[in-house]
């Protein structure tokens, strides 16, 4: 039976950061800490650390939702291979 039971694990699909074509780049200076990006990141890949946000690039899939929702344009999507 054990093999039919799963337990909470980050990265159940592996390091999904590899799926990215675009990477969200965060500019702390523009940020007003509204946390909208944190709330709306579908991947739950954004953490709040001391009121600031922090993106977990191991898992961030690069969907771009955070960049879109940020009124302050504090997140920018940049092509992975241009990095």
């Amino acid at each position: 039976m054990e093999c039919m039971i799963a337990r909470p694990s980050k990265g159940s699909a592996g390091k999904t950061g590899l799926w990215r074509t675009f990477k969200p780049i965060y500019d702390e200076n523009k940020c007003n800490n509204c946390l909208l990006c944190w709330l709306y990141c579908p991947e739950n890949a954004i953490d709040v650390v001391d009121g600031k946000i922090s993106i977990d690039y191991d898992y961030c899939k690069g969907c771009g939702v955070c960049a879109k929702i940020c009124a302050k344009k504090a997140i920018e999507m940049v092509r992975e291979d241009e990095l």
Binding site: R7, P8, P42, E43, D56, G64
Partner: protein, 297 residues
């Protein structure tokens, strides 16, 4: 209406990063919100659908709540049994059925039965307006004229209005919600959790690959649906009310242009002007009904 402030939301993650959801997945947004709203009171019951995949595989679960996978048509009935077990064994928790619109097609008798019995559960239909997991086929809630792989020239039937139908079932709590307004959704979940019996939330979940828009636009698309009036947020908790986020759009002049919503989606690319006019007519009619219901219930 429960008011939800972002800063007060718990930081614990119940949907874990690195799962199989596509980029910009609306179910993922819904599931993370569920965790924020109800935390570890949740016991998920998940019928077949994208969420089956998102849930993880092998020994790895993407959820920090318990989750029971169940056959496609069975979820509310399984929740009935689980709820009975929690109650009898004195365990505090809520069976939460998380299903797709497809699940509410094949499982509509099951859903209706559990509702009529007022069994203790929260049912959330995360409606991405098609069977996505099997590759974008038409469901009962697919939008009129939307293209899917089983309706390659556009669906001919109207979108099934699940929430109003459940309202007529006399469910104890009924609401519509949207992944574009997560605070509203979280508030509704919390409200629902305070009510006993059968609680139903119809969550609007725009899906990037299924609808044909960029993964960054999930939230925007969801909001556009509300802003153009095509998706109306409301709540019934004994009293029927249009939710604040939708309220302004009762006034047609305040609505965003419908074409903005439609034209961004590949599934609507073929629409004629008459089609769009017809959709607008139907939206107006829906508003008329919903506004009237505010007086009735």
């Amino acid at each position: 209406m429960v008011v939800v402030k972002i800063k007060d939301l718990p930081k614990e993650k119940f949907l874990l990063p690195g799962n199989t959801s596509c980029q910009g997945c609306p179910h993922a947004l819904g599931l993370k919100s569920l965790g924020m709203a109800l935390g570890d009171d949740v016991v998920l019951v998940v019928p077949a659908g994208c969420t089956t995949i998102i849930a993880g595989s092998k020994d790895k679960s993407s959820f920090k709540f318990p989750c029971l996978h169940v056959p496609f048509a069975s979820a509310p009935a399984v929740a009935t049994g689980l709820g009975s077990a929690f109650r009898r064994l004195g365990k505090k928790g809520i069976p939460v059925v998380w299903m797709g619109d497809g699940g509410s097609d094949i499982g509509f008798a099951t859903l209706s039965g559990a509702c009529v019995r007022k069994d203790d559960m929260i049912v959330i239909v995360s409606d991405n307006e098609a069977y996505m997991n099997t590759g974008i086929q038409t469901s009962g809630t697919t939008f009129w004229k939307a293209r899917t792989t089983t309706s390659p020239t556009g669906k001919r039937e109207e979108k099934k209005d699940l929430a109003l139908i459940m309202l007529m079932h006399k469910a104890d709590y009924v609401a519509t919600a949207s992944v574009g307004y997560l605070q509203d959704f979280i508030g509704k979940l919390r409200k629902a959790s305070e009510i006993d019996g059968f609680r139903f939330i119809h969550l609007h979940s725009p899906c990037p690959p299924g609808w044909g828009f960029d993964s960054s636009e999930t939230v925007e698309m969801a909001r556009l649906a509300v802003k153009c009036g095509a998706w109306i947020l409301w709540e019934f908790d004994g009293k029927f009310r249009i939710s604040p986020m939708s309220k302004p759009y009762a006034d047609k002049s305040k609505r965003a242009p419908l074409t903005e919503y439609l034209k961004k989606q590949r599934r609507f690319r073929h629409l004629s002007d008459e089609d769009i006019a017809e959709i607008e007519r139907r939206i107006d009619e829906q508003w008329r009904v919903v506004l009237a219901l505010e007086d009735v219930f």
